[in-house]
């Protein structure tokens, strides 16, 4: 036990003290932020050229009033079309927009003509269309003598609020569903990344030990199983450390960036994309509701369960990666072909997880979250949706049993693999190793 502890300590410290580890751990949150800011910037990027557009409104439907949009400026010069066209040619205007009279007040399609040598950008075209269409709407309302308030009241926004059948059932809002899906998705992604990043780390480290030939010195002091477990636990602790640092750093960095740049997250959604602008009051209400829902989630149940599934999933796959690492030594190509059978269930589980956050109680989601190869990734994604206890219990029992079996199995392969050199390893070969005697 004491020696296992020594191995864990070395595996942990040798990684945590590395400069590259410290750098990636500290810089990843920053990199994420830079990435998001960058993406936000790209998405909200508009043409930076000023567009001067002359409008010829033949029926004066716009009443010479239209809002300029970003870099697009409208004007209503009193000049014939041909003069204006000549002015466009001289570069005084970028284009001339001709709005013909409506053939009929009830017409639903109306064509505008745009004279220019330049192509209109999609953004500008959308902006002109929506500006003109709302002005024409006003014009129609006025012409038809309608009360604008009456017209406004025709709009109804519909929202579904799920209610329980039984009276003592919990009243779940649709906000809860969205938050559950988000939470599930984050947990699923963390599982998926954890399994791959740290599983690969273990595999490389086992391969290195074998290529280095340190392994025979090691196992003359300790059992191969101790070495493997020490490595798995040590690297797992490294992963936990990294996640913990990120959980603390990411909110801190985002707050800091907010303070420095006065950057508001809403700005990242580009207004030019025609996303519906949210009323600030609505926004505040949403945030309040979201906070309330977040508070009502049973964190004391979800977090420990997530950790339990995380640890089980990690041990399950990490031990398999260790077994593969022990079998291949320094042959990267071979390791890829042997990690494929491990990656496939992880990938399938990941896709099922994506579906499960939308339909958490579908047959697929339920059974995938019970099947032990998928459950570490799928079940956490469902945890926020009041999963029946029998499902969680069954899933955990199956998972823990499978973990014990796979760790044992990997230990059998590992102890043979680390001493086997110069042999091309196939899956069949690995199967045989399980039954070798010590």
């Amino acid at each position: 036990m004491n020696k296992l502890w020594l191995i864990i300590k070395r595996e942990y410290l040798s990684r945590v003290q590395k400069k590259s580890f410290i750098l990636t751990t500290l810089l990843t949150p920053l990199a994420f932020l830079v990435f998001f800011i960058f993406v936000g910037f790209i998405m909200s990027y508009e043409s930076d050229e000023a567009n001067k557009i002359a409008i010829v409104d033949q029926d004066n439907m716009l009443k010479k009033a239209i809002k300029d949009d970003g870099n697009t400026f409208f004007s209503f010069p009193n000049a014939p079309l041909d003069t204006l066209k000549a002015q466009v040619a001289r570069g005084e205007y970028n284009g001339v927009l001709v709005i013909p009279p409506l053939s009929d007040i009830q017409t639903k399609d109306h064509k505008l003509f745009y004279y220019s040598d330049d192509q209109l950008s999609l953004d500008v075209e959308n902006a002109i269309e929506s500006a003109v269409s709302s002005r024409i709407r006003d014009h129609k309302i006025a012409t038809m003598n309608l009360d604008p308030q009456v017209v406004e009241s025709l709009k109804t926004s519909v929202e579904i609020d799920p209610e329980p059948i039984e009276e003592d059932g919990e009243d779940i809002s649709s906000m809860r569903t969205a938050i559950g899906a988000g939470l599930g998705f984050i947990m699923g992604i963390m599982m998926y990344m954890g399994v791959f990043i740290y599983g690969m780390m273990i595999m490389r480290s086992v391969m290195e030990e074998k290529t280095n030939r340190i392994v025979e010195v090691m196992i003359s002091s300790i059992k191969p199983f101790q070495l493997m477990m020490g490595k798995i636990i040590g690297v797992g602790a490294v992963g936990m450390t990294q996640f913990l640092v990120w959980i603390i750093l990411i909110p801190m960095v985002s707050v800091l960036v907010n303070l420095v740049f006065g950057f508001e997250p809403q700005q990242m959604q580009s207004p030019g994309m025609g996303a519906p602008q949210m009323d600030p009051d609505d926004m505040q209400g949403m945030v309040m509701m979201a906070m309330q829902e977040l508070g009502s989630i049973d964190w004391w149940v979800i977090v420990p369960l997530f950790l339990l599934f995380f640890i089980c999933g990690y041990f399950l796959y990490a031990s398999l990666f260790a077994a593969v690492g022990s079998a291949v030594g320094d042959d990267i190509g071979e390791s890829q072909s042997l990690t494929l059978p491990i990656s496939i269930p992880v990938l399938i589980a990941f896709y099922i997880m994506m579906v499960s956050v939308r339909t958490p109680h579908s047959t697929l989601a339920v059974w995938a979250s019970i099947f032990p190869l998928f459950s570490p990734i799928v079940m956490p994604a469902r945890l926020a949706f009041d999963v029946p206890w029998w499902q969680i219990a069954l899933s955990l029992v199956l998972l823990i049993g499978t973990v014990i079996f796979f760790v044992w199995l990997s230990g059998r392969i590992y102890r043979i693999g680390i001493l086997m050199y110069g042999k091309k390893v196939t899956l069949k070969e690995l199967g045989k190793w399980m039954f070798y005697k010590g």
Binding site: S14, R213, L419
Partner: protein, 311 residues
């Protein structure tokens, strides 16, 4: 208990090949013991059984009269043929790690490592990374790792392969010192001439079987052919070789065979009496290499790989 190590009918089978086939031998405490045989004879398999890296299928292994158990690895120092170190670790840190895995406390490990590093005049390497060291330097570190916990049984598998002559001599000297301090040492090698003068007892292994076991001197005496060599300056007295069996005669070196050992001295006397100037006289004992090949042939076995192939 006179024997530190006793093997009885040890068998180890890998799939179809018998790597170790009913090997028995015993090793007296405080001796330097050679385990000799060509590559692939099963030496490493035997060592892995003794170091508890693998388990024997059959047979019994006793250390100090006790069947192998989990405490024994702490009393064994093993330097494998294929030896490596963690490249990114610092020398001092690395040695402490390996020593602690052998059950030493942090302080005991530190003291012992410092003692050895001073002995090898490498104290200033403590904070160097392993990857900064040359191969010869790493070998010193590996040797320290093998003996740092003062094991009573030291097993060296092909210790001189890849070792430069200076380090080889250094390690030979230290092996002698450790023996004087009471350690028992197993040399495993296919380079028999390398251990001839170091080992007191040997076991010869071929194809997983024990071919020959015993004290080096007894084995040689048992198999000697009464060959004697005389170094003579100048011409041989005429007619002195008549009726004698001459094996070889060139450049003033004369090799003779006698039916009786004592006849060698009588011949020496007759040489001196006849006025020849004898500069040297020695008995020629067979080398372990020759004995190995001869014994294997006598037993009707084949040798899998030629001897003396430098690895």
């Amino acid at each position: 208990m006179a024997n530190i190590l006793e093997l009885t009918d040890v068998v180890k089978t890998y799939q179809t090949t018998k790597a170790v086939d009913h090997v028995s031998f015993s090793m007296p405490r405080g001796s330097i013991f050679g385990m000799l045989g060509p590559n692939g004879a099963g030496k490493t398999s035997l060592i892995r059984i003794i170091t508890r890296i693998t388990q024997a299928d059959e047979g019994r292994v006793l250390i100090n009269g006790m069947p192998l158990n989990d405490d024994h690895p702490e009393d064994i120092g093993y330097m494998p043929e294929e030896r490596g170190l963690y490249k990114k670790m610092k020398v001092g840190e690395h040695l402490i790690y390996l020593a602690r895995l052998k059950g030493l406390t942090e302080k005991a490990a530190k003291d012992s490592i410092q003692h050895w590093m001073e002995k090898f005049e490498i104290s200033d390497w403590w904070n160097k990374k392993v990857e900064e060291l040359s191969k010869g330097m790493q070998q010193k570190v590996q040797f320290i790792a093998t003996v740092v916990h003062k094991p009573s049984l030291i097993i060296l598998d092909e210790p001189f392969s890849g070792l430069d002559p200076i380090n080889a001599n250094l390690i030979k000297d230290e092996i002698d010192n450790l023996r004087t301090e009471g350690a028992s040492i197993i040399f495993s090698t296919h380079r028999m001439e390398q251990v001839e003068e170091i080992c007191e007892r040997i076991v010869l292994i071929n194809r997983g079987q024990n071919v020959l076991e015993g004290g080096v001197q007894e084995i040689k005496q048992d198999r000697k052919k009464n060959l004697f060599r005389y170094h003579i300056k100048g011409e041989l007295p005429a007619g002195i070789l008549e009726g004698k069996e001459v094996i070889d005669h060139m450049n003033g070196s004369l090799t003779m065979r006698f039916t009786q050992e004592r006849d060698s001295n009588l011949f020496l006397k007759s040489l001196v009496d006849a006025g020849a100037y004898v500069q040297g006289f020695e008995e020629i004992l067979p080398s372990l290499n020759e004995i190995f090949i001869q014994t294997v042939r006598e037993q009707g076995m084949t040798i899998e790989e030629p001897l003396n192939t430098p690895s």
